[in-house]
């Protein structure tokens, strides 16, 4: 559905020296600096797939999405989406995609929400019967009917996002682009939005590309992730593989009532020194161990050695993994 080959995007940025002298200098002889927003990224996305872009601020995620949607021209490389060149065939191409930019709206600001949908109906040439059916479905998943008579500027951010998502999906796009669809939303709204996205993906087999900073979006929605940092693709694969590759250990947290034995020593004897780390802070204990050791086994041993009041097992945290990748990325600078 989507093929990107060696996409590059460079911007020219004016650099100005500080102070009055710098300002005067910039007036006559502006200095430029080339910013490599995206450098040499290639990937493919299949039909019906949900692909999530993650990466720190300024990594190039939004630039990538803007190139995929035909807004920005790549400096080099080839992009094909749904058989179109997004830049050269913009007008035909955008008929087949839906776009939501979390920080902007495509709704008609001063007019009641219903007007936006009538406008979109004309622009995308949606037939009346199809329109009614589609509005029924969108209302079912996004509950937009109660908002229809309100001017868009009076909607809350959560309501606006629901409406924006519905607006992007009215014409049954083949590909839906979501740039930070859950930004600034509360937990309940986020949850509803995610459910709606998942539902649309399932019902219409819509290919979805999303960028986010909220890893829950990724965990709950994405089939595959791409991690971008400093304009480069640093990881591509499933979330599961990411955990496998980078998250080598698991963690047990527990509250003890009694401890008598040298746990670290005994566990190390039993499982070998494979990354076993035992720590105790008053009655709160943590045990970190290599993921190759079955949790049940280590748990059994642990329960024999100490008497425990409460216990929880944690997969290695995606957030921690990603943080580590971002940080190591920075070090290369």
């Amino acid at each position: 559905m989507i093929t990107v080959e060696n996409a590059v995007k460079e911007f020219k940025k004016v650099v100005k020296q500080p102070g009055l002298k710098g300002s005067v200098q910039a007036l006559f002889k502006p200095g430029y600096e080339i910013v490599h927003a995206v450098s040499d990224i290639s990937f493919e996305v299949n039909k019906g797939e949900i692909m999530g872009f993650i990466g720190p601020n300024g990594a190039g995620k939004s630039t990538m999405i803007k190139m995929l949607t035909g807004i920005l021209y790549p400096t080099a490389g080839n992009i094909t989406v749904a058989g179109y060149n997004p830049q050269k065939q913009r007008q035909q191409y955008v008929q087949h995609i839906g776009v939501v930019f979390g920080q902007r709206t495509q709704l008609w600001w001063d007019l009641p929400l219903s007007e936006t949908f009538t406008v979109l109906k004309e622009i995308y040439r949606v037939q009346q019967k199809e329109f009614e059916q589609r509005m029924g479905y969108l209302n079912e998943v996004l509950d937009i009917a109660p908002l229809m008579t309100s001017p868009v500027r009076t909607l809350s951010l959560g309501q606006r996002m629901r409406a924006d998502l519905a607006a992007a999906m009215l014409h049954r796009p083949k590909v839906l682009f979501l740039d930070e669809p859950t930004i600034g939303l509360d937990v309940v709204v986020k949850d509803n939005i995610r459910k709606a996205i998942a539902n649309m993906n399932k019902v219409d087999d819509t290919t979805i590309i999303l960028t986010t900073h909220d890893l829950a979006d990724i965990e709950l929605l994405s089939h595959r992730i791409m991690m971008i940092d400093h304009g480069k693709l640093v990881y591509q694969g499933t979330l599961h593989d990411l955990k496998d590759k980078y998250g080598k250990s698991k963690k047990i947290e527990f509250v003890i009532s009694d401890i008598t034995q040298p746990v670290q020593q005994l566990l190390a004897d039993r499982f070998g020194q494979r990354g076993i780390e035992f720590a105790l802070d008053q009655d709160k204990g943590t045990l970190i161990y290599d993921r190759s050791i079955p949790s049940a086994m280590i748990l059994k041993e642990l329960l024999e050695l100490v008497s425990i009041k409460d216990i929880s097992i944690k997969e290695s945290d995606v957030e921690a993994i990603i943080k580590e990748i971002y940080m190591t990325g920075d070090k290369h600078e």
Partner: protein
């Protein structure tokens, strides 16, 4: 290839937005009227000291000229420069580019929406006012349906010339990022060179003739002269042909600028 129907909503939107900001329009109207009256008294003084006619203009000609020029300027007003520049500066041009519509037509039809409102609210009353003035002045009705029709046709061409000129300017924002100072320059240039401030025929012939060939005269001078009967016969035809020429030229120029400019787009802020 492009169905006009898809653009009707833009006009509707422009119309409704204009209504939503009716106080804005009202303020504009009062301002323009005041301006027209200032011009009126200014010229009154001038004519009082020349007596009779000035370069073929009688004082009543001048009154018609002042009010009709201003009404025409109002009628063909385009927001294209402002809209494009603002959308580029704040990045919302993205939202326009993701729609399966042409950029120029979507902007033009938005303008048309508010033009319809200005036509009904401002132009028609102004025209009635002018006809009443002429009736009072000359004692006979001077209404000429043919002149009015020719005027409307020429004014439509003016709208297109002005729109594509504005659009070319707006596209400069792709390169300049901020267009504020530049657009003030443009507006003063248009106001002066289009002959809506001073009749172009008042300028020395050596300036007036080249200016009349420039697109600016096609913006508001031509329709006003046609209405006033200053142009007749072949002159009307030639002036309109020149307008059509400029519509085509500016349309091509805007398309050319856009095809280059879109590569330079760097969406500012997110």
């Amino acid at each position: 290839m492009n169905r006009i129907k898809a653009y009707i909503p833009f006009s509707k939107g422009g119309f409704l937005t204009a209504i939503a900001y009716r106080t804005h329009i009202l303020g504009f109207l009062v301002g323009e009227l005041l301006f027209s009256f200032i011009m009126y008294y200014l010229w009154k003084t001038v004519f009082a000291n020349t007596g009779g006619t000035l370069l073929g203009f009688t004082f009543s000609d001048m009154v018609v000229f002042i009010f009709l020029s201003n009404a025409t300027r109002f009628l063909i007003h385009s927001e294209a420069t402002y809209t494009v520049a603002e959308e580029i500066v704040e990045g919302s041009i993205s939202m326009r580019l993701i729609k399966p519509v042409r950029l120029d037509l979507s902007l033009m039809f938005t303008d048309l929406g508010s033009t319809i409102l200005t036509f009904l609210l401002i132009f028609i009353p102004m025209l009635i006012g002018i006809e009443i003035y002429r009736f009072v002045e000359f004692g006979v009705w001077m209404i000429s349906p043919i002149r009015i029709l020719l005027f409307l046709f020429s004014a439509s061409l003016s709208f297109l010339v002005n729109f594509y000129f504005d659009l070319c300017f707006g596209f400069m924002a792709f390169f300049l990022k901020n267009l504020w100072g530049f657009s003030i320059l443009k507006q003063s240039m248009v106001n002066f060179l289009s002959g809506s401030m001073i009749p172009l025929d008042f300028l020395p012939k050596i300036f007036a003739d080249p200016i009349k060939l420039m697109p600016f005269a096609s913006i508001s001078y031509t329709p006003v002269m046609i209405f006033m009967g200053k142009y007749s016969g072949m002159t009307v035809f030639n002036a309109m042909a020149l307008q059509i020429f400029w519509v085509i030229m500016l349309y091509l120029l805007s398309a050319l600028i856009f095809s280059i400019a879109k590569r330079y787009l760097s969406v500012q802020g997110g």
